[in-house]
């Protein structure tokens, strides 16, 4: 009882507090590559705090949909966080098919973010929304193909056992190869879903080329804070999912596992930072090809599991 309570508290705590740190890590990495000192690690936390104190400005064209956007997105993402296992720890909420709910909660967020963007009636934000929904179609395919492979691999229909399977099974031969392919694909999905290079560039200043940032141009104050926060949480969740494939490790001892998990997520963040530093942003009409490629990787993984 108490153990599970502790686990719950720990889970919620990580879920609420860790995500902004990832942004800091990424920026640090990029700064290090660029030979700058860069903003402090906790810069994201400062920004959020400041935003939540600011007042909001609304365009006169907007309706409740505009306000609903960030709120629903943030809630959906946080709820999804309750379904994902963190490292060796089980998710507080587990049931058959929670992986579907996980994916669909992210989709719900997308629905309201894009609708809110269009609510402003701005051509740029419409552009961003269009790109978001279009690329998401391909990302979803990749994500679910990855799920199919993992289900085939683990035989489980719930995120926790499914993602813990690689740690328990001894890995060799085709299944391992399948997992590698899926891991790569999931990394691409992670980049796409959390709007990072090479799919999107969070700190470009040319609206014409943005995807996610351009959708939230009009948000301000706490709402904008929610947007940033939700984005960070999303990235954190996806990287924690990816982590189970990249680092299938579970010692029986909770403190150690917890440490491993935090380190792992930060490592993913570093990886993202590295990618952002060494790669340029893709031209927009190459993005679909990249996402389709990740889907194809998963399909190969599926075939490999068949050939088992």
């Amino acid at each position: 009882m108490t153990a599970s309570l502790v686990a719950l508290v720990a889970h919620v705590g990580l879920l609420l507090l860790l995500p902004p740190l990832l942004l800091g890590v990424i920026n640090k990495t990029k700064a290090w590559f660029a030979g700058r000192r860069g903003p402090p690690l906790l810069q994201a936390y400062y920004d959020l705090a400041r935003l939540f104190r600011k007042e909001m400005v609304f365009s006169e064209t907007t309706t409740w949909m505009f306000r609903a956007g960030p709120i629903v997105t943030a809630s959906a993402v946080l709820l999804a966080g309750m379904l994902a296992p963190f490292g060796a720890f089980d998710a507080p909420v587990r049931f058959t098919g929670d992986l579907v709910l996980f994916a669909y909660l992210l989709a719900l967020g997308r629905f309201f973010t894009t609708a809110a963007a269009l609510d402003t009636g701005s051509a740029f934000e419409g552009m961003g929304a269009a790109r978001e929904v279009s690329f998401a179609c391909l990302a979803e395919v990749a994500l679910f193909t990855a799920f199919v492979v993992l289900v085939r691999f683990s035989g489980a229909l719930s995120l926790t056992p499914m993602l813990h399977a690689p740690a328990q099974a001894e890995l060799h031969g085709l299944p391992a190869a399948a997992l590698v392919l899926v891991g790569v694909a999931l990394f691409v999905v992670l980049l796409a879903e959390s709007a990072r290079v090479p799919i999107d560039d969070p700190n470009t200043h040319l609206e014409l080329t943005m995807i996610h940032e351009v959708m939230v141009l009009d948000h301000s104050g706490p709402l904008f804070g929610l947007v940033l926060y939700a984005q960070a949480v999303k990235m954190f969740l996806l990287s924690s999912v990816l982590l189970h494939l990249a680092l299938p490790f579970a010692s029986g001892r909770p403190p150690l596992d917890g440490l491993v998990f935090v380190a792992g997520t930060l490592a993913v963040a570093v990886a993202i930072g590295v990618v952002e530093s060494v790669m340029a942003r893709l031209r927009l009409h190459y993005v679909p090809s990249l996402l389709i490629a990740s889907g194809v990787l998963c399909a190969f993984g599926f075939v490999l599991t068949l050939a088992r």
């Binding site: 365009s59 309706t63 929610l226």
Partner: protein, 663 residues
């Protein structure tokens, strides 16, 4: 030889009769008499109440009930109420009643030519006929009800026949439905030959195989698929749905298509262990319909056409479920049967809630602005807030997003497909798992399509004066929409509520499940889903309270357009540009017609860009084929041009031929 009719079935039959007669009052009193219209609606509601009561009693009693009402020249008036029929009756009763309520204002007798009494008559007949279709237990009776339904639907679609495009849509529908009916005639004739009687629904001997059974299956799928609108048999669907009055579209999409689904389910149940390829084929068709249907929907620029194509997608999803259950049936995987059929049937119910809702919303928009073209709407969220709320509910639900009802059925299907791909299932079966990503793709496409509608038609600023001065409809129409919206929420928060309907339906299809299980309730964590949905709602409320209540808002300003201070409505993103990327991805199937602007010289003159997506099958395959056939047949006409001498020569020649060659 009429035997005693059990009460629930009797109630349903009375309901059928009441609804069938609901259109008659308009013919005894003056056509433009609103009172007779209200009477018709009252009769519809009364019938639905009786039917619902009957269904409740049936669910209580739980066992199938049959009755014999008399004889036909061939065949008998045999009816029966089993789990499957009961489940399909629900949408009929609901949509018919609420639709006719909506019609009271939307198609007000005093404002439409002829008082719309033909519409009301056919409305009642069509609903009753559809109830007859699911109740019929005799092939001939089934065909009679089927055709009555089809013809009534034709008259409903042709309501606005003074407009040529309506006539064309009705005509395409008529040809399609007749082709389907002929397929079914052949289907039942062959079935009778195989079983030796017209009783429905027979179970062919387990070892029955070979050409005859294959022909039966193919004809059944073709006949019912034409009605259900499976790709590539969907040709009639978009035009009909777009051009019919909106509450009729709701009835068509919400219920009529489902009769086709009903037939497909029954066809798959003909064999105790059908060949695996039956289910496989159905699964494939389902995937094709779902993906192509939604891709076409994304590309549409007409609100109601978009909704129509999304109906094709939903029928495709349902077909995926039925196919999966058929596979499970042939491989003896009870869990797949339960999940596949359960998901399909639950989606039947869900789709008959949120699709009518969306069509009624479209009707209100059409009513208020007079146009269905997305690009000439905009900003309706401000001018018709209640309608927008209803639309948002429907849109979230139809995208299968939690916490609304679309999610539950898709969850069942995902579970089934993933189980098929599970570690312990053979490779051949695992391929069924490949449908899961397809399902995800359609979900994402649906999201794109409905975000597009929400954004282009409702959000932003008005593009035309009509949409500036638009206003919410009156209470009657709002009430109908509200009822559907509440149903979306209710089914979303407590999907377990329909288990008493689902479980008997599945058992009616696969009786073995009744005693062995597994039961749907054990396979799906309905309780968890409800908890999470409620949790989501609470979380949103909390977040809203935290962010909005205790934070100040400054004076409203114009939208930030990167420094451009004077944005005009014409600068907003329009639908075709919104879907441009996706249409590009699917261009291999959609083949968009584009007319590119000619810009030449240093100061190019004004020019326009237009693009439209024709139907992949109707405009690209069927129509050209027919045209060429016409051209081919024309020369034959010369035979009837001859002088009388030529005619006499024909007689002479045929005699000679028969006496010399043909002996």
């Amino acid at each position: 030889m009429v035997n005693a009719i059990p009460l629930p079935l009797g109630l349903v039959l009375v309901a059928t009769a009441t609804i069938a007669a609901s259109g008659l009052p308009g013919y005894v009193r003056s056509p433009v008499d609103a009172a007779s219209q209200r009477l018709a609606t009252a009769l519809n509601l009364l019938g639905s109440m009786l039917g619902a009561l009957g269904l409740v009693l049936f669910v209580r009693a739980g066992d199938a009930q049959t009755a014999m009402l008399g004889e036909l020249p061939i065949g008998r008036l045999a009816v029966s109420l089993d789990g499957l029929s009961a489940l399909f009756l629900v949408p009929m009763l609901v949509v018919s009643a609420l639709g006719s309520l909506y019609g009271c204002e939307y198609w007000h007798a005093a404002q439409v030519p002829g008082g719309g009494r033909r519409l009301r008559l056919c409305w009642g007949i069509m609903t009753a006929a559809m109830m007859g279709v699911v109740l019929a237990r005799d092939a001939i009776l089934f065909l009679v009800a089927w055709e009555a339904m089809a013809l009534a639907a034709f008259f409903l679609i042709a309501t606005g026949e003074e407009r040529p495009e309506v006539r064309r849509a009705a005509w395409v529908y008529l040809v399609a439905t007749h082709a389907g009916s002929l397929c079914l005639v052949a289907f039942f004739a062959l079935l009778a030959r195989a079983t030796g009687s017209f009783d429905l629904w027979p179970s062919l001997p387990g070892d029955a195989r070979g050409g005859l059974v294959t022909a039966v299956f193919a004809l059944g799928i073709a006949g019912f698929g034409l009605k259900a609108g499976l790709v590539p048999l969907h040709v009639w669907l978009p035009g009909a749905h777009a051009n019919a009055p909106s509450h009729v579209s709701a009835l068509l999409s919400g219920v009529l298509l489902k009769t086709g689904v009903y037939g497909i389910v029954r066809v798959c149940g003909l064999l105790p262990e059908p060949p695996v390829w039956w289910g496989g084929a159905l699964l494939g068709i389902g995937v094709l319909s779902a993906v192509l249907g939604m891709a076409l929907a994304v590309a549409q620029q007409d609100l109601k056409r978009l909704l129509a194509y999304s109906s094709i997608e939903n029928v495709g999803i349902i077909a995926i479920g039925v196919g999966l259950s058929a596979i499970g049936r042939s491989l003896g995987r009870a869990d797949l049967v339960a999940l596949g059929l359960g998901g399909a049937l639950l989606h039947v119910l869900n789709h008959s809630v949120f699709k009518p809702l969306l069509f009624l919303v479209a009707g209100s928009v059409l009513h208020a602005t007079g146009t269905r073209r997305l690009a000439s709407l905009g900003g309706l969220a401000r001018s018709m807030p209640r309608t927008f709320a209803a639309f948002a509910l429907g849109a979230v639900a139809i995208c299968g997003l939690p916490p609304l009802n679309g999610f539950a059925s898709e969850l069942l299907l995902y579970l089934g497909l993933l189980r098929a791909a599970g570690a312990d299932s053979p490779h051949a079966l695992a391929w069924a798992g490949a449908a899961a990503p397809a399902l995800a793709l359609t979900g994402a496409l649906a999201l794109a399509a409905f975000v597009k509608v929400a954004g282009i038609a409702f959000c932003g600023t008005a593009r035309t004066p009509q949409s500036v001065h638009a206003h919410d409809p009156g209470h009657t129409m709002l009430a109908a929409m509200a009822a559907f919206g509440l149903a979306c929420i209710g089914l979303g928060l407590a999907p377990a509520g329909v288990l008493p309907l689902l479980q008997p339906a599945i058992e009616a299809w696969q009786p073995a499940l009744a005693n062995t299980g597994p039961w749907l309730a054990d396979l799906v964590p309905f309780a968890r889903v409800s908890q999470m949905s409620v949790g989501l709602v609470l979380l949103v409320a909390l977040a809203a309270a935290l962010t909005l209540r205790r934070s100040r808002a400054g004076a409203p300003v114009v939208t930030w357009d990167c420094g451009y201070a004077r944005p005009t409505p014409r600068m907003q993103y329009v639908d075709s540009s919104f879907s441009e990327t996706l249409v590009g991805l699917f261009d291999w199937a959609l083949r968009t017609r584009r007319s590119l602007p000619q810009a030449s010289g240093l100061f190019p003159s004004e020019s326009r860009f237009e693009s439209e997506v024709p139907d992949a099958v109707l405009d690209r395959v069927v129509m050209p084929l027919l045209a060429s056939a016409d051209r081919r047949l024309l020369p034959v006409r010369a035979l009837q041009r001859g002088p009388v001498q030529a005619y006499l020569l024909y007689v002479f020649l045929i005699v000679v031929v028969l006496l010399t060659v043909a002996r």
